[in-house]
């Protein structure tokens, strides 16, 4: 057998391999069941004993070389295949994805969450109440007598079933006091916060809406003082507006608190110097507060000589507008997705 010629033939055939199919054909021709190597091994037994070792040596070397060539060719083909794929596959990853974008919660909700986070460490529970409310909880129980301006028909929405749409979240305070007064130790200490929609029956414009959002907290316990209330409000406002903000309190009047205070913060624009935005005052009122009026406590069986309490409320819609730089209150409720998407 002319192994040199076989070797040369092998080299030639491998040099001509261009594809996996070529390799498969060569592989089959040489190493297949009917392949040359098998045939040559079968012929081994017919070889003279003297020539057998040399023949077998050549044959094994040929088979070894063949296997090596196949392996090399396989790697080469694989590598070339990957190169071809890499060359062919070019993706523009800058093209738009099948992504609908993130949504978001409303700025008012963000403010409510922020206030909740400030209050939780003090133990405040968030409670809710009806928006279609009884006159008693909205007014009478809160020391707002029948002749008070807040009860005028033009300010309050009255429903056909002789209820009303709550004009403030303070109605929740009345309900909480009523409920807690039935509990052992009158449910003290009471620490609740309420957030929600409130309604005023007035003509709407850029800064007045028939529906808006308020927040209110009430804390009833033995020994609470005006000083405690003011400190808590200052803490809340500085957490909300920034620790460097100045806070002051001016006297106010609310029928359900006595004393009543209006917390104010320094105007962001003029830093309390006075400018057009704050009407020259240098300060902006951010809510209402006070010690719970003794008549409100007495209404629910609490003895003002033994327990005291305070309340603080603010308009969360206005606060949301301020925090998000939304210029008009109306825009908070316009639900313009161009605005909401811009806040994500």
């Amino acid at each position: 057998m002319d192994f040199e010629a076989l070797d040369a033939d092998l080299s030639r055939q491998f040099a001509e391999i261009r594809s996996e199919a070529d390799l498969e054909r060569v592989n089959k021709e040489w190493l297949g069941k009917e392949g040359l190597i098998k045939t040559l091994f079968k012929q081994l037994q017919k070889i003279d004993a003297a020539d057998k070792p040399r023949y077998a040596q050549h044959l094994n070397r040929l088979k070894g070389r063949l296997e090596q060539l196949i392996s090399e060719q396989e790697s080469k083909l694989e590598s070339s295949k990957i190169s071809e794929r890499l060359q062919a596959e070019q993706y523009d990853l800058s093209l738009p994805a099948n992504y609908s974008g993130l949504g978001s919660v409303h700025p008012v909700t963000l403010i409510e969450r922020k206030i909740t986070a400030i209050l939780k460490p003090f133990g405040f529970v968030n409670v809710m109440g009806p928006e279609v409310e009884k006159e008693y909880y909205c007014f009478d129980a809160l020391n707002i007598p029948s002749y008070h301006p807040a009860r005028d028909m033009q300010d309050t929405f009255y429903t056909e079933n002789d209820h009303l749409l709550r004009t403030h979240t303070t109605s929740v305070q009345a309900r909480v006091l009523e409920q807690c007064s039935k509990e052992p130790d009158k449910g003290l200490p009471i620490k609740v916060a309420s957030f929600g929609r409130t309604y005023r029956n007035e003509t709407e414009d850029a800064s007045h809406q028939a529906m808006f959002h308020q927040f209110e907290l009430v804390w009833i316990e033995q020994g609470l003082t005006l000083s405690n209330l003011m400190a808590l409000i200052q803490h809340i406002l500085r957490e909300l507006y920034g620790k460097s903000r100045k806070v002051r309190f001016v006297p106010k009047f609310y029928p359900y608190t006595e004393p009543s205070l209006g917390p104010q913060i320094d105007c962001t624009i003029c830093k309390a110097k006075g400018c057009a935005a704050c009407g020259g005052a240098g300060w902006v009122t951010v809510g209402g507060s006070g010690m719970v009026h003794r008549k409100v406590l007495q209404e629910f069986g609490y003895e003002p000589e033994k327990v005291s309490g305070f309340a603080f409320g603010l308009g969360t819609s206005r606060l949301a507008a301020q925090m998000c730089n939304i210029p008009k209150l109306k825009m908070v409720y316009d639900n313009d997705l161009r605005v909401l998407k811009g806040l994500v």
Binding site: P121, T159, N228, E258, H293
Partner: protein, 681 residues
């Protein structure tokens, strides 16, 4: 109230020439200066007064507040020391105690009265009859509203009484008003002269021809005046003052001040009459020094200083050293708003300044409270919605009558369930909403018009109804989680717009993820909500609990509301969904191989595919792990759909034999035929 700085300076020495410093002090005293202006008499403060402080409506009242802050004296205006001994030339019949005091002064030779521009320069609107300007000036100075009648236009006696029926009057502003029954009227024998505390009548007003006048200086019941003025839809300086309560002794002071001011003019003071209800003593309150110190957290606050400030405010103060208690009597101008010792704390704190109070933050408790049901629900579902590109919106709770009508076209009888508002100023707010669908559709349409192609919104809000809600926490309302999608699913225009079935699939996926977020699998059954497309809506079940519905807005309602694009809407009972929130617990996965088998059944076109899978799942076949719709196909010439279900079997203990799975499959097929009457393919 508009108050001239120069007028204020007449009554008190101010510490600083700086207007800004005075403004700050007024703000701090509860006399909030809204703005400043320059008038003929110099700088004028526009002060927003507190609703309960009638004593803040005049210059000496403001001066008194400042005096308590600075502990300096107020220079009170001079009052005449003597009153005429002769009564007025007509009888005054005070027939109602709602008029607490009625003082009348008769003036003759009124022509001699000089115009006092040195005084009227402080008035907001001067240039009336010299007598009227003078009375307005006295009101600005000491807070007593007074009125002048032309004496010669009064016929018979002056009668002060409460009206028993509505009356019509022509007031001196030339307008006609209807005065409600129960108002206090000043009358003569033939006509109404004035609506007490509100406005005088044209028929008796003083003019340039008037030579004799009758001056009224009275105290009227604040509540009655307010009710009358509100009913008449009028607010005058007088009514504003009376509503907030004037000084109980101011009627006499007003008369004396007037006599003092006209003394040099040659006007003849010809008669005076006074009628009044005997007043109870002003109330007295006791308050401990300790309580004041504790409330203000100023433990070294001196009793002497507290007494001094209260006295400057006009209170009579007696400090009992032994009990460290103040006994404080309220002045006659504060009986309307001081009704407990708590009010005294405000008086003291205000005169000191709230800024002097030492702040004391209450301690934190580390016992964090449980979230309420809305908070709990949102903690679970909000990430699903926001993550899928939904924006929270806030819609109003109102409907207009036309919204109610549009809904009633499809939902017969729904008009009766809308809670109506009796007195809405805006006619668009005549009812409360029973669904959020209309609001969402309008909101989506509006945003589409602004160029937003993909509207995906959610809201947790209240829906209202006229009938009482028996299950939820509120009588006439319920919390619902609502969400909707309209237009394209994705905002960009890179891919072709989704067709309706793709939108249905995408929207249902959101419903599914919301239900999954509370720990349940979504199941749906056919529903019949009249506001949704009858062929594209379903009841939402969280597991086996019904929690709401979803579907496509009814095309007819869309037409009624002029909504152009499809709107997919879901409404879920928030309270119920929140109650269903649960955290799934760990179950160990099986390591044994699963076996899958497909079956195909003939399903009527209108039947939900899930009805079959739910039937199979609920039948507890052994080792059946799941059933899922695998294919839904309908040949054009067949009146049924071919729905293929893929069932997965798996055991926790062993490898299942093919034969035993086949046996179960045969049982299932048999049950579908016999119990569900379904044909097999």
């Amino acid at each position: 109230m508009k108050l001239s700085l120069n007028l204020l300076r007449k009554f008190i020495d101010l510490p600083s020439p700086e207007v800004s410093a005075i403004r700050q002090m007024l703000d701090d005293l509860g006399l909030e200066v809204k703005d400043l202006e320059e008038g003929p008499a110099g700088t004028v403060f526009n002060i927003e007064t507190l609703a309960n402080r009638g004593d803040h409506l005049y210059a000496t009242g403001v001066a008194r507040e400042i005096s308590a802050r600075l502990l300096t004296a107020v220079r009170h205006p001079a009052l005449a020391s003597n009153l005429p001994e002769r009564p007025v030339s007509l009888a005054i019949r005070r027939n109602t105690d709602l008029c607490l005091t009625y003082a009348a002064l008769e003036l003759h030779n009124l022509n001699a009265l000089q115009q006092r521009s040195d005084l009227s320069q402080y008035l907001e609107s001067a240039g009336n009859h010299p007598l009227v300007d003078l009375l307005n000036y006295i009101a600005l100075e000491i807070g007593q509203p007074m009125h002048a009648f032309d004496r010669e236009k009064i016929e018979g006696d002056v009668i002060v009484e409460t009206s028993t029926r509505p009356e019509k009057v022509l007031a001196l502003d030339q307008k006609e008003y209807e005065v409600p029954a129960g108002s206090i009227l000043i009358k003569d024998s033939k006509k109404i002269l004035a609506v007490a505390g509100v406005i005088g009548c044209e028929s008796s007003k003083v003019t340039s021809n008037t030579t004799k006048a009758l001056i009224e200086s009275a105290t009227f019941d604040p509540v009655t005046v307010r009710k009358t003025a509100k009913a008449m839809k009028i607010s005058t300086d007088a009514s504003y003052a009376f509503e907030r309560g004037v000084d109980l002794q101011g009627a006499l002071a007003g008369i004396k001040r007037l006599i003092n001011l006209i003394a040099a003019d040659g006007v003849q003071v010809s008669g005076f009459s006074l009628q009044q209800t005997k007043q109870a003593d002003a109330p007295v309150f006791r308050i401990g020094l300790g309580k004041i110190r504790e409330q203000m957290n100023l433990l070294k606050l001196e009793a002497l200083e507290i007494s001094a400030r209260l006295k400057h405010l006009g209170f009579s103060v007696d400090f009992e050293e032994s009990g460290k208690t103040f006994q404080v009597q309220v002045p006659s101008w504060r009986v309307w708003d001081i009704d407990s010792a708590d009010d005294l704390i405000e008086e003291i704190a205000r005169s000191f300044s709230f800024s002097k109070i030492k702040l004391d933050l209450p301690p934190l408790t580390y016992d964090l409270p449980e979230p309420n049901y809305i908070e709990r629900l949102l903690q679970h579902v909000e990430p699903s919605l926001v993550g899928k590109g939904f924006f929270e919106v806030i819609t109003k709770g109102f409907y207009s009558q036309s919204d109610v009508n549009a809904i009633a076209v499809l939902s017969k009888g729904s008009s009766d369930n809308h809670l109506a508002l009796k007195n809405a100023v805006d006619s668009n707010y005549s009812h409360l909403k029973i669904s959020n669908l209309v609001h969402f559709a309008r909101l989506a349409e509006l945003n589409h018009r602004k160029g937003i192609q993909s509207v995906k919104i959610f809201e947790l809000c209240r829906l209202f109804s006229k009938s009482k809600n028996k299950n939820g926490p509120y009588e006439y309302e319920a919390d619902v989680l609502t969400f909707a999608a309209s237009g394209r699913w994705n905002e960009h225009e890179w891919q072709k717009p989704e067709d309706r079935s793709e939108m249905i699939s995408a929207f249902k996926a959101v419903v599914e993820s919301v239900v999954a977020a509370v720990g349940h699998r979504l199941n749906v059954t056919p529903s019949q909500n009249p506001l949704l497309h009858p062929g594209c809506q379903a009841t939402v079940l969280a597991g086996d609990q019904e929690v709401g519905f979803f579907g496509l807005m009814h095309p007819q309602l869309a037409n009624e509301l002029e909504i152009k694009q499809d709107l997919f809407y879901c409404e879920l009972d928030a309270e119920k969904l929140s109650r269903l929130v649960h955290q799934n617990v760990f179950t160990e996965p099986s390591d044994f191989p699963s076996v899958k088998r497909d079956i195909t059944v003939k399903l009527p076109p209108a039947e939900y595919a899930q009805s079959v899978s739910r039937f199979i799942e609920s039948s507890n076949y052994p080792n059946l792990r799941s059933v899922a719709v695998f294919d839904d196909f309908k040949k054009a010439d067949e009146d049924f759909r071919r729905v293929t279900y893929r069932m997965t079997f798996q055991s926790d203990q062993r490898t299942l034999e093919s034969q035993e799975v086949d046996t179960i499959i045969q049982t299932i097929l048999g049950d579908l035929q016999s119990k569900k009457s379904l044909g097999l393919v």
